[in-house]
């Protein structure tokens, strides 16, 4: 099977940019990243359809000249799903902004608490670690208080 290099390069560029954006903290950037990545993935399906051909409508062209219709059907489904996902993520980003004033993806609070426990367990050996942990403590505790107020 011959593959279309332009499509592959565009897809990898989109996916690469998407991955970069997903690593950001802000949910709206993550969302843009996910969208770029989704578009890149959809292009990959175009690659898997093989070389371009006539529209796959019965009677319009000989069957051998038609392009493979199945990947297009799959991409259509994927696009619809991506639409729903985008709407939901936007709603979540908005809600997060309503609650916290930003839409940053937050740390696992309980996990931070356990890390803190481990850090404070042995104060003499790891004084610096414990010291850092207390600064972090204050930050996470604040987050927690906000959440508590919300509930």
């Amino acid at each position: 099977m011959s593959a279309n290099l332009t499509l592959i390069l565009t897809a990898s560029f989109l996916i690469g940019c998407g991955v970069y954006l997903i690593l950001e903290r802000s949910l709206s950037r993550v969302l843009v990243g996910l969208l770029m990545m989704g578009n890149g993935v959809n292009l990959l399906f175009m690659v898997s359809a093989g070389p371009a051909g006539k529209p796959p409508i019965i009677g319009s062209a000989p069957t051998d000249d038609m392009t493979d219709p199945l990947p297009q059907a799959l991409v259509l489904t994927a696009v619809v799903i991506a639409l729903g996902t985008t709407a939901f993520l936007l709603a979540m980003a908005h809600r997060s902004w309503q609650l916290n004033g930003n839409d940053d993806v937050q740390d696992d609070v309980e996990d931070a608490a356990i890390r803190r426990l481990a850090a404070t367990d042995d104060v003499s050996d790891s004084h610096e670690l414990a010291h850092e942990a207390t600064a972090e403590d204050l930050a996470t505790d604040e987050v927690y208080e906000e959440e508590g107020a919300e509930q």
């Binding site: 099977m1 593959a3 997903i22 949910l27 993550v30 996910l34 990545m37 989704g38 993935v41 959809n42 990959l44 399906f45 690659v47 898997s48 093989g50 199945l70 990947p71 799959l74 489904t77 994927a78 799903i81 729903g84 996902t85 939901f88 993520l89 979540m92 809600r95 997060s96 609650l99 916290n100 993806v105 937050q106 696992d108 609070v109 309980e110 996990d111 608490a113 356990i114 803190r116 426990l117 404070t120 367990d121 104060v123 403590d137 505790d141 927690y144 906000e146 959440e147 919300e150 509930q151």
Partner: protein, 565 residues
């Protein structure tokens, strides 16, 4: 009527029901009736399908009447039918429980009308995943159940749920993108997405290509199934949801991932070079998961970590890729769906009774509510694998498979599985001794003896069985951090409206008894798990047959492609 026509119903009925309940959103009573009726009929259909699949082999329906191999196939073989039945029973009981709870436990903020439709879409997605006969249909069913789960997880939109939901949604969208990439790759390599056709064409591919496809698919499903090191999202996101939602997620969603791994490994990559990789992943999942569980000071989080840990057992069975291994894994999936759901339902009851799932505030539950103690004790012991319950039988089956295999790695996994089982018992015993075995007075005294935050304690202090360090307190090997201590102090404060159990006992201001409508479904689910123990013999016979079907592959392939065996 041909019984094969029943195959699409577990998907179609809940979807129709979702539409109906959405239209009935102003009439909660009618909504409930519709949902219960539909879930009950799904249970019945699943039972019929299981008998049919066992007697006459895989039942195949080509949706819309498109001829093989162009259409979308739904296949109910022995494995699918068993998964379908167990998941149907579990979802029905969880729904009854959530009705008793007043939907979601915080009905004043959760929009009531969307709970039923979303729950039904979730059920449809899970059923579709078990029945899907091709990879793309599997993808669509994953999206169906994930979308429903996004909504259920963020129900009410409180701060904690949005925080947990964000991570859950992003992780799952990422894994869905990965799934799409693997679909595109599989399609370009083979020109098909149908499991049966793929199983015939996969063998012709160059080894490298097949390996890449396998790795892509395995990574995708390992995220869904929460296999270490792709499991970190789970204990973070599950505990914040309402109790019945957490219960059904914990029971079903990860198992759909396990099922997908099983299906793909057997049908597509029978001579997989990645068996050892799966075994290592299983070992790490078991051990890391259970160590996480021991460190937790909250029952819900402890259970979420045991969930991750016990996924390892199923991966162990799949990694061994022998008939006994698969049989044990299938049995274990059925057992674990029921038991993990039951435990989360019980935790919902505990939360209802005491207003918290933090261990530091609890004490004397056994005295306060013996019924609750029994309801917790039985599934907890089952989870830890105490004979003669189904957890024990499933583990013995898997250990047997490991010993039969006999390679050093398999022996290492047998050891890891035994250690994990013991550590599960330890984590449960810790919870038990703090939440149930202490008297309320002891819990009260302990909280009173807590040092104030400002106190600077240099050395270890021992008071009332606690070891107090500067910032945290150890009780019976459980460490409690600043936040929980602060909460405990707030409870103990005479002026605060919160009262701990001891004070409530003194005041006589205990809440009324647990609502029967919540206790009965929980008890029903526990009874179902004990029933699995009771019928373990026949059930193991069934899973043995399912496993040999899986390994043989021809029953599935010939049923789907319509060739006579």
């Amino acid at each position: 009527m041909n019984l094969t026509d029943l195959v699409p119903l577990p998907v179609v009925l809940p979807l129709l029901g979702a539409g109906a309940t959405l239209m009935l959103s102003r009439r909660p009573r009618a909504q409930r009736l519709v949902t219960i009726a539909i879930l009950t009929s799904v249970v019945a259909i699943a039972a019929i399908l299981m008998v049919e699949a066992d007697r006459h082999g895989p039942q195949v329906v080509w949706v819309g009447g498109w001829a093989s191999p162009l259409g979308i196939a739904l296949v109910a073989d022995r494995l699918s039918a068993l998964m379908l039945l167990v998941s149907a029973v579990v979802t029905l009981l969880v729904l009854l429980y959530s009705l008793g709870q007043g939907m979601t436990g915080d009905s004043h903020e959760a929009p009531l009308s969307i709970y039923h439709p979303t729950f039904l879409v979730l059920v449809a997605g899970v059923s579709n995943a078990f029945l899907a006969g091709d990879l793309f249909n599997l993808f669509v069913s994953f999206e169906m159940l994930l979308f429903a789960s996004y909504v259920l997880l963020t129900l009410g939109g409180t701060g904690a749920r949005i925080r947990a939901g964000t991570i859950y949604v992003v992780v799952n969208i990422l894994s869905s993108s990965l799934f799409l990439i693997s679909l595109a790759a599989v399609y370009s390599a083979t020109g098909s997405l149908n499991f049966a056709q793929l199983s015939e064409r996969m063998g012709d591919l160059p080894d490298g290509t097949a390996l890449m496809l396998q790795l892509l698919l395995l990574t995708t499903f390992a995220i869904k199934a929460a296999v270490f090191p792709l499991s970190f999202w789970l204990p973070d996101s599950y505990p914040t949801a309402p109790a019945p939602v957490t219960a059904v997620f914990a029971g079903l969603l990860t198992k759909v991932g396990v099922y997908a791994i099983m299906r793909v490994q057997v049908l597509l990559f029978p001579d997989s070079p990645l068996g050892n990789l799966l075994l290592w992943a299983a070992l790490l999942t078991m051990v890391v998961g259970i160590l996480g569980a021991i460190a937790q000071s909250d029952i819900k989080r402890m259970l979420s970590f045991t969930l991750v840990s016990h996924i390892g057992y199923m991966i162990l069975g799949i990694g061994l890729a022998t008939s006994t291994g698969y049989s044990g894994a299938i049995f274990y999936v059925a057992h674990h769906i029921t038991i993990q759901t039951a435990l989360f339902l019980v935790v919902g009851l505990i939360e209802r009774r005491t207003g918290s799932t933090g261990l530091i505030r609890m004490g004397g539950l056994a005295k306060l509510s013996p019924l609750l103690a029994v309801l917790f004790f039985v599934p907890a012991m089952n989870l830890a694998g105490i004979p003669p319950m189904s957890g024990f039988i499933g583990k013995v089956g898997l250990l047997q498979a490991g010993i039969d295999d006999g390679s050093p790695l398999a022996w290492l996994l047998v050891a890891g599985a035994v250690v994990t089982s013991l550590l599960t018992l330890y984590a449960i015993a810790k919870t038990w001794s703090l939440a149930f075995w202490r008297t309320p007075e002891q819990a009260h005294e302990m909280m009173r003896a807590l040092p104030a935050l400002e106190d600077d304690l240099d050395d270890d202090h021992h008071r009332h069985g606690m070891v107090i360090h500067g910032q945290h307190v150890h009780v019976h090997g459980t460490a409690f951090g600043t936040r929980e201590l602060a909460e405990a102090r707030r409870v103990i404060d005479e002026d605060a409206p919160d009262r701990d159990l001891h004070q409530r006992l003194q005041d006589g201001s205990l809440p009324s008894r647990l609502p029967l409508s919540m206790v009965l479904p929980t008890a029903g689910l526990i009874a179902f798990s004990l029933l699995l123990t009771l019928v373990a013999g026949p059930l193991y016979g069934y899973t043995d047959r399912a496993a040999s079907d899986l390994l043989e592959r021809t029953p599935y392939i010939s049923a789907v492609l319509g060739e006579e065996p």
